[in-house]
């Protein structure tokens, strides 16, 4: 059980600073050395990998594009988990990275031939082509192979979960996915400078803050800015002036302050993927199987989970998600070597990787702006700086070789683009905030905000984009959406076909619906739509942002596997006897016990329900036969602790019970027990059980297994507002219960209690509070199985003790434990109906031959009016009736068999077993009331033939009930 409190994660340097042991990762099986602080993508790039993925539809080569976890280009399978954004995933030693969606390799992908057939795949390809189900059935497996992303392994996720025991998880490494619930006053989404400042300010004003950042390090864009150049005034909430520092230094200083602040919980490597009702944020934290050091996170327990889903309820939300760059539109804009500015800067500054040798920069600033300086420092030769409107296309097949401009061709191996800045507004839209087009800044910016939301930093407003987004040429090689391979041509065609609203355009073309959720393509698709429809950006509007704003794994949503199991207090006793368990709702119940060893064919294993073994056999399974004989001939004991038990107190308890139960219970004498049934307003049978009167104002009620919560709520519902003095307490878990029944039941119990069990002193349908074996019990003399017997209810903690005592006491009388299967046979011989088994949601007491439970002379009760109508209907012969039947031949129909009348199905068997006392199959069936006359015959479908059954209204066993009263 002992887990170390704070184990040092093995072999992982954690942050970028510690350069300890060398790191080797494996890419498609090949070892690749990486540096501390690397991401998977930066390590691969350093080793010369340029193609990181193949596109969804056409298998076009794709390289690093955004470097910030926004685009789909770097998705790979990492340690068995598909679709991992490798550009923001840290390396760790021994990491296994595999490419996706390419055969045999990323460099040479046979499936890239699909690109030649792009003319066959117009927008709305699926809707236009696969209109016949047969065609779809034939083509679907092929498409499934060619299209798509990573593959999910059918094995449990990766290494961490493999040794865990989901059912009894206290050993091993624990589940791969964890859930946790946090509550905070302020949640800040985004760990850039604006988010860090907001978190510090909120903490300083006394709030508890959770700061969420999806990057491996705090600091946002400051981290990858060149040294010595950061401008602006930076005064921290504590007065410390950090102005004049370089970007990375500023980021480090601010991050240090945040980590030091005890009121701030920092969640790194964590994506806030949605805002839900009740100010609930969904946050997914990558834990890398416990290998991370969770830089400064006070919650850093070392879970072995790979991912942790944090349900974060917050009072205030600060959106500091910043802005990202969108991909500009020009021909071949998806070629490897075409890179957004942020990716080039990250490679150069964060990882010391030269992004290329010879670069062209697309920028509106004549000198190429800061990125040009950064690239020069990294040793990249700047071939040219050109404005965006001059760029025509990128040249090359697997990697960029040059570009075509309006002024001629230029050779290069790197094209760095200053993309349009787009505020990351997904959460803002989900919070109910509006977005409006700002012509000045050429961007959609947040407008009205709900009062609990504050937007700071670039998410609130950006440096104006120099130009409005250019819609680009209507070409099949100009990609708007790199996730789903949607081109400008596709969008133009879709608008032409009539999908000219941005929302319908989205649904038809699937633009903005891929893994990037519109980050790369929303703005440009709006621009294309606006141009093609002749509308303004403002009029065109935006698509709707819904959670999740980034892809998350289904495993993380499902969380750790845990299903509550309900065990009776006698569970260990049954286990000791080697019973075969069955599930009854959440309860575990003994289906049967092993037959006595002497008898051949006995088996305690294999939970085949007894009656399903054969339908043409009058041989009971040995174990049922043994258990049956014990009860009918000697004494049997069954655990009935799963029955629901309610304690009802108060002077108005009789009034309440008379109202909700169909019987009259207010006139019961103390110490009496009555069978009682509940119906709803429509007269439908809901539950039945026993009601015992312990005092004038105190009743003890049993309900059927699994129905207790419902019955309790039902009673409380009908109490509500009545102003009665009555309290209902569910005492189910607190009471063990056994039924001791059989001709020797009295002898068995007599030695354990001072209370007389003779019929004169303790008649049938009576109850007594008595000590049995020194344990305070409530004894009910009732007879579900048709023999003299007592149901003992007693405090659960005495369960094992009293069971063992009764078994020992009954040994001389041949006591035997019996399970649910035998109990069902025993009760069937008494023709007792089990509500929910023999009845369903349309059954009423009149048709179910239980008219005796409804006291129609009672002033009123729930369902009375409806039951009166059912009573009247009985006479018309238009209903179905539940009747007992005896088979006229040797067959024993299965439960659920069809009743056949006039060659048509006319009803069904609800329960049927071979009856040892009759020597024939007996059962209960719903049949047309025309057939429901004692002695009348009807047919049941048994194994392809019709078996003859005879109707009976009498119990099959001891019809007068003499044995119950002995």
């Amino acid at each position: 059980m002992a887990h170390p409190v704070d184990p040092s994660p093995p072999g992982h340097p954690g942050g970028a600073s510690e350069g300890v042991c060398p790191i080797t990762i494996f890419f498609d099986g090949k070892p690749i050395s990486a540096q501390p602080g690397d991401t998977v993508a930066s390590a691969l790039y350093r080793c010369g990998v340029r193609i990181f993925s193949r596109s969804f539809k056409y298998h076009r080569p794709r390289g690093l594009l955004c470097g910030s976890g926004h685009c789909p280009n770097c998705l790979m399978t990492v340690d068995g988990i598909p679709n991992v954004r490798t550009c923001i995933t840290r390396v760790h030693d021994g990491q296994k990275v595999r490419h996706q969606n390419a055969t045999p390799s990323l460099e040479n992908d046979w499936l890239s031939v699909s690109g030649f057939f792009s003319w066959l795949m117009p927008v709305g390809f699926y809707y236009k082509t696969f209109t016949h189900p047969l065609v779809w059935r034939g083509v679907e497996p092929l498409i499934r192979k060619v299209a798509g992303l990573g593959e999910v392994s059918p094995e449990p996720a990766a290494d961490a979960g493999s040794e865990s025991h989901p059912e009894h998880g206290s050993t091993g490494a624990g589940p791969a996915y964890a859930h946790i619930f946090w509550h905070t006053e302020v949640a800040v989404v985004g760990g850039g400078p604006a988010g860090l400042l907001a978190a510090l300010q909120a903490a300083r004003s006394g709030g508890r803050v959770v700061l969420i950042d999806d990057q491996p390090e705090l600091g946002g864009h400051l981290r990858f800015q060149g040294k010595g150049r950061h401008s602006g005034e930076w005064v921290m909430p504590d007065g410390q002036d950090l102005s004049g520092l370089s970007g990375p230094d500023l980021a480090r200083k601010m991050a240090e302050q945040v980590v030091k602040e005890p009121r701030i919980r920092v969640l790194q490597d964590s994506t806030c993927f949605g805002l839900y009702e009740g100010r609930l944020l969904g946050v997914l934290q990558k834990l890398a199987g416990g290998q991370r050091t969770a830089n400064g996170s006070p919650s850093a327990g070392h879970s072995q989970a790979l991912e942790r889903l944090i349900y974060l309820r917050t009072q205030r939300l600060v959106v500091a998600t910043g802005a990202y760059e969108a991909l500009p539109l020009f021909e071949n804009n998806d070629l490897p070597g075409v890179m957004l500015r942020s990716a080039a800067q990250r490679l150069a500054h964060l990882h010391g990787v030269q992004p290329g040798k010879r670069a062209v920069i697309v920028s509106e600033q004549a000198d190429g702006g800061p990125v040009a300086a950064d690239l020069k420092v990294a040793g990249v030769e700047i071939e040219a700086v050109i404005p965006r409107r001059e760029l025509v296309s990128a040249l090359g097949r697997k990697h960029i070789k040059g570009i075509r401009t309006t002024r001629g061709d230029l050779a290069c191996d790197l094209l760095v683009l200053e993309g349009d800045r787009v505020p990351d507004a997904g959460l803002i839209a989900q919070a109910g905030g509006s977005l409006r087009w700002e012509e000045g800044q050429r961007a959609f910016l947040p407008g009205e905000m709900p009062p609990f939301v504050t937007v700071v930093g670039e998410a609130a407003g950006i440096q104006p984009n120099p130009e409005a987004p250019l819609p680009g040429p209507c070409s099949k090689k100009t990609f708007v959406c790199v996730c789903e391979d949607v081109t400008v041509k596709d969008l133009c065609d879709a608008v032409q076909e009539g999908f000219d609203h941005i929302q319908t355009l989205k649904r038809y073309s699937t633009v903005t619906m891929g893994p990037c959720q519109g980050r790369m393509c929303q703005l440009s698709s709006i621009a294309v739509c606006a141009r093609q429809t002749g509308r303004a950006m403002e009029q065109t509007g935006t698509t709707t942002s819904r959670p999740p704003t980034l892809p998350i794994s289904l495993g993380s949503l499902a969380g750790p596997r845990h299903h509550p199991v309900r065990r009776t207090p006698l569970h260990p006793c049954h286990e000791a006897l080697g019973c075969t368990w069955m599930d009854m709702g959440d309860w575990k119940r003994p289906h049967h016990y092993p037959a006595p060893a002497a008898e051949p064919g006995a088996s305690g294993h294999g939970a085949t329900p007894a009656h399903t073994s054969t339908s043409h056999s009058h041989h009971l399974p040995t174990f049922v036969e043994a258990e049956y004989r014990a009860v009918r001939e000697r004494v049997g004991i069954i655990d009935v602790s799963t029955l629901g038990r309610l304690d009802v107190r108060g002077k108005d308890a009789p009034k309440l019970l008379d109202k909700v139960y169909t019987n009259r219970l207010s006139d019961m004498k103390l110490g009496r027990v009555r069978h009682a049934a509940l119906c709803d307003e429509a007269g439908i049978l809901l539950d039945d059980g026993t009601v015992s009167r312990l005092a004038e104002d105190h009743y003890f009620i049993t309900t059927s297994t699994g129905n207790i919560e419902f019955v309790q709520q039902w009673l409380e519902w009908w109490m509500a507002g009545a102003g009665w003095c009555v309290h209902v307490t569910n005492v189910t878990g607190g009471l063990a219960a056994v039924n001791v029944a059989g001709p020797k039941a009295r002898e068995t119990l007599a030695g354990l209690t001072g209370t007389s069990l003779e019929t004169a002193a303790f008649p049938y349908m009576n109850c007594r509070q008595a000590d049995v074996g020194g344990v305070p019990c409530l004894m009910l003399r009732i007879g579900f199985v048709g023999e003299t017997g007592w149901e003992l209810h007693f405090p659960a903690e005495y369960g094992e003790y009293l069971w063992d005592l009764v078994m020992k006491e009954g040994q001389p009388f041949g006591i035997g434990a019996f399970g649910v299967e035998t109990q069902r046979l025993l009760r069937l011989e008494k023709k007792h109906v089990i509500v929910g088994v023999d009845t369903d949601a349309t059954s009423n007491p009149m048709d179910a031959d239980m008219a005796w439970v409804a006291k129609l002379d009672k002033e009123d009760f729930i369902g009375k009016a409806a039951i009166l109508r059912f009573q009247a209907r009985l006479a018309t012969g238009q209903s179905e009736r539940l009747v007992g039947f005896v088979m006229e031949d040797d067959s024993v129909p299965l439960d659920g068999s069809a009743v056949v009348h006039g060659g048509r199905p006319a009803g069904r068997v609800t329960s049927c077993r071979f009856s040892p006392s009759i020597g024939r199959g007996i059962g209960l069936a719903w049949i047309p009331s025309a057939l429901a006359h004692a002695g009348r015959h009807f047919s049941i479908h048994v194994n392809g033939q019709l078996g003859q059954a005879r109707v009976t209204f009498q119990p099959f066993y001891d019809p007068e009930g003499k044995r119950l009263r002995m």
Binding site: H3, S170, G301, R313, D586, T732, G733, V775, Y801
Partner: protein
């Protein structure tokens, strides 16, 4: 009948305790684990990380009805042996060590007679009670319940009813001096399921099971 019997009271977790190697002893009339490892070690570990102790032997009384005010309004713990928790309007839970239990029950029964509609039900057997204690206990709890168990959401001596490991539970905050501690009351039939879930959730925080001996070292609490 002049036979005498020696009934044994067992918690729902009796067998899980024994599987973990607990030393069992009669405590407060129940067979309870004295310790799973040396008690001093257990107590030290709970003080530095987290621990889980079965305190099902606590007497639990369910009090329903209007008009009842606990005998002493001054303190939450009435005399060191009895504590009362307000679960809802007109619904209280009284917890007592067995030595205080009889007195508590008598007091309540007197109130029951005096007040027009007050009912006391002994629910000792209905609930399994677990004491989750230690500086990391809240971290463990946050993995199991969506209820707010922070200092502001559930201050010391506060009570909440919420889902816990997919079952209904009463979560009662009862710190042991400076040590955060929670009493978790769940229905007995799901006790083993919850015990497993808490232990599993606590694994990463170093949670250990501990016995009544170490629990007594941790300080007062009912």
């Amino acid at each position: 009948m002049n036979r005498t019997f020696a009934p044994v009271r067992r918690s729902a977790l009796h067998h899980p305790h024994r599987l973990l190697g607990a030393v069992m002893e009669t405590y407060q009339g129940w067979e309870m684990p004295r310790e799973f490892r040396p008690a001093a070690e257990e107590a030290a570990h709970v003080r530095s990380a987290a621990g889980l102790c079965d305190v099902s032997w606590l007497v639990k009384l369910d009090v329903k009805g209007r008009g009842w005010t606990p005998a002493s309004s001054a303190g939450h713990t009435l005399d060191g042996t009895v504590s009362r928790w307000r679960l809802a309007a007109g619904h209280w839970l009284v917890l007592a060590r067995p030595e205080g239990g009889a007195g508590a029950l008598e007091g309540l029964q007197a109130a029951e007679r005096q007040l027009p509609c007050l009912h006391v039900t002994d629910v000792t057997s209905v609930y399994c009670a677990l004491l989750l204690a230690g500086p990391r206990s809240r971290d463990v709890l946050e993995k199991l319940t969506s209820a707010d168990v922070s200092d502001s959401g559930l201050p010391n001596q506060g009570a909440a009813q919420a889902g816990l490991a997919h079952v209904h539970a009463a979560i009662l905050r009862e710190d042991r001096g400076p040590l955060p501690a929670y009493l978790l009351l769940v229905r007995r039939d799901v006790a083993e399921s919850v015990w497993d879930a808490v232990n599993e959730a606590g694994g990463e925080y170093g949670l250990i099971p501990f016995g009544f001996s170490a629990a007594e070292h941790l300080g007062a609490g009912v």
